[in-house]
Symmetry: C2
Subunit: 123 residues, 2 copies
């Protein structure tokens, strides 16, 4: 392991690592219930905007641009804490959601369970 | 929205969507505590192996191959349930971990919190 990799894992410096597409994974978790609400990607711009404003911003891969979650719907995600993983290429955003996190109106995007024969909607 | 997209969001058919690299995001969550333990990617092969065995498999981007989590360490992740998101390009694996999920020996890979001045280790 290089010194830089060791620093990334054990140190206190924030050294985010973006992939070849300039992205890191961002897991959104309800700070109160622990429920995983959604998953999206962040680039440096989205990360900076999130830290500067306290509201979750992502990089939309389909639109190829910065995406402030809830900008249109008002369903913002207020970031209460942000965790970083060992190799600093994924984040957990602990949030207070200002409405459903999913564009379908569901509280969480993960509203179906996979079984042997397909998907079942959760209660 | 195309019919296929609507089916993906509202239907019961499992229609996983992999990105240009053939990958989908996989969030590992402790089924008991709700703690997010790690994040990795799955390709079709990893997804099939996970479903067939009941233990988490991922695609290692650095090694470019199938990776059975814990194959060497014994720290397997026993998958108790798998959730699928609205557009079916991300999964939550609810697991019973057979040891620390992180290769550093931490229970979770997300053992540090981001603050204005860098990272702080969680208790």
């Amino acid at each position: 392991m290089s010194t830089k990799d060791a620093d990334r894992e054990q140190g206190n410096a924030f050294l985010p690592r973006f992939d070849a597409q300039g992205l890191a994974g961002a897991i959104v978790q309800d700070e109160t219930t622990g429920e995983v609400l959604m998953f999206a990607f962040m680039d440096q711009e989205a990360l900076d905007a999130t830290r500067a404003t306290g509201f979750a911003h992502f990089h939309s891969r389909s639109r190829g641009k910065l995406w402030k979650k809830g900008e249109t719907s008002g369903h913002l995600l207020e970031v209460k804490a942000m965790l970083v993983d060992c190799d600093q290429d994924a984040f957990v955003l602990k949030v207070r959601p200002h409405g459903p996190a999913c564009h379908t109106g569901e509280r969480s995007c993960f509203y179906r369970r996979l079984g042997p024969d397909g998907l079942t909607r959760l209660d």
